[in-house]
């Protein structure tokens, strides 16, 4: 699968980046292609490229708060979860999505 994602937590200095790392590691170890943007208190980092969004099979939004720029994902399959889900079980989530999408 090709995945794009956003991570954002309340304090915007810790869980955001942990969630990103977990998603990246899990996806790569399962052989998926992934790009994750962080929306921390410092602002948006590693902003998603339009091409990556266009080619993505699914958008994973791991956030405890409202994220910006959702209009970029118009017409995409979107999965929204709190950050703790991808921190605790990133592979489980990705596998579940893959199963549901039948990819």
């Amino acid at each position: 699968m090709k995945i794009v994602g956003i991570a954002a937590c309340t304090s915007g200095i810790a869980h955001t980046y942990i969630a990103k790392e977990k998603l990246l590691r899990a996806a790569e170890s399962l052989g998926h292609e992934i790009h994750v943007e962080t929306q921390g208190t410092i602002g948006t980092e590693d902003e998603l490229q339009l091409d990556d969004i266009k080619n993505a099979d699914v958008v994973i939004i791991a956030a405890d708060i409202k994220v910006g720029g959702k209009e970029r994902f118009k017409g995409k399959k979107i999965v929204e979860v709190p950050t703790h889900v991808v921190i605790k079980s990133p592979k489980g989530l990705i596998n579940k999505i893959q199963q549901d999408l039948g990819l």
Partner: protein, 356 residues
């Protein structure tokens, strides 16, 4: 109810409010330490410390507006910001504090969504919708509601809460402190900590300083306790954990608990248990000894600005020792270096839905 995502809206608002509270708090602390006081007459001469304290106090006045605007923005997107700020100002004026601000934010946010969905205007007037109709109508309707209806019970609730907490003596204050401290230490800056934190910040605005001191103390106990446990028995920690502890300690001095997360992630039950117990003890002692903090954040640097700083250090020390003791006793010597990709927890994904 779940669809409404009430919690997400509150967390969004808190995330916008945090830098504001920290900055305002530190400004007040630095100003107070350098002998400043709030400027009452701007025509008379004033010093830099006076200016710092005043700026901090002005910033504290922004808490309710920013909370309200944050909640309302989370619900209604951009059109929510301006009416939300108004609701926060109302909350400040009628003495409904941050609770009133949050409530105003929810109401105005949902009202705006309803307006956007239900008002249809002719083509030529479409530009007026976001610029005038939506903000004006929502601010007026919910604003009047806040002034004349909702303000009354909220003020009553705020007053009741404040006077109850002010009146806490002996055993009940001990328990209150323990709950505050335990919550603040439980998830290292996560949602539970933020609830305790928000509560303490709100009470600070009402002039109740004890809970804020509980929060500060209990936020520093986890990094300090983990560090002390590591110093006592280094064998029980892997190289990676030790590296994390070396980062977590200086963060802890500045009251940033998040440094403990990687250590807790490696061994959640023991670390969280030990930290919560230490935080609870620290919080309880704070309330018992009547320690108060006029500043919501800043760690060791603001201890001199507190009421009863020695009591604060005693509570911090006791909590740290308890956390460290539990860790030293319960922690096992690692068999092998844990792999970075630790085992996953079993989660129920039945509520995870793919949309679009």
């Amino acid at each position: 109810m779940k669809k409404l995502q009430l919690k997400k809206h509150a967390l969004t608002a808190i995330s916008y409010m945090l830098p504001l509270v920290v900055t305002a708090g530190l400004l007040i602390a630095i100003g107070n330490l350098t002998d400043g006081s709030v400027i009452s007459d701007y025509k008379a001469p004033y010093s830099i410390p006076d200016a710092l304290v005043s700026l901090g106090v002005l910033g504290m006045g922004l808490i309710a507006p920013v909370m309200a605007a944050g909640v309302s923005y989370s619900i209604a997107d951009r059109p929510g910001i301006a009416p939300g700020l108004f609701m926060g100002l109302i909350a400040n004026s009628i003495g409904a504090g941050f609770l009133g601000g949050m409530l105003g934010g929810y109401l105005v946010g949902y009202f705006i969504n309803w307006l956007k969905a239900s008002i249809k205007v002719p083509k030529w007037a479409e530009g007026l919708m976001p610029m005038m109709i939506v903000p004006m109508v929502s601010t007026t309707v919910i604003g009047l509601l806040m002034f004349f209806v909702l303000g009354v019970p909220i003020v009553w609730l705020s007053d009741w809460l404040t006077s109850t907490l002010r009146g806490l003596q002996g055993g009940s204050s001990f328990i209150f402190g323990a709950v505050m401290g335990g919550m603040a230490a439980f998830d290292f800056g996560g949602p539970v900590n933020k609830v305790a934190s928000l509560f303490a910040d709100g009470l600070l605005l009402e002039g109740v300083l004890g809970p804020e001191a509980c929060k500060i103390c209990a936020s520093m106990i986890p990094p300090f306790g983990v560090t002390l446990a590591w110093i006592i028995n280094k064998k029980k920690y892997t190289k990676q954990e030790a590296d994390n502890i070396k980062i977590a300690f200086p963060m802890g001095i500045c009251m940033i608990t998040e440094g403990v997360i990687p250590i807790a992630a490696n061994d959640p039950i023991r670390v969280i248990g030990a930290c919560t117990a230490g935080g609870a003890l620290g919080g309880a002692l704070i309330m018992l000894m009547g320690v108060g903090s006029p500043v919501p954040s800043g760690g060791m640097f603001i201890v001199p600005a507190m009421d009863n700083p020695v009591g604060f250090l005693i509570a911090l020390g006791a909590g740290t020792v308890l956390t460290a003791a539990i860790l030293v006793i319960t922690k096992k010597v690692p068999v092998e270096t844990p792999i970075v990709d630790e085992e996953e927890e079993e989660l129920d994904f039945s509520e995870v839905v793919i949309t679009g």
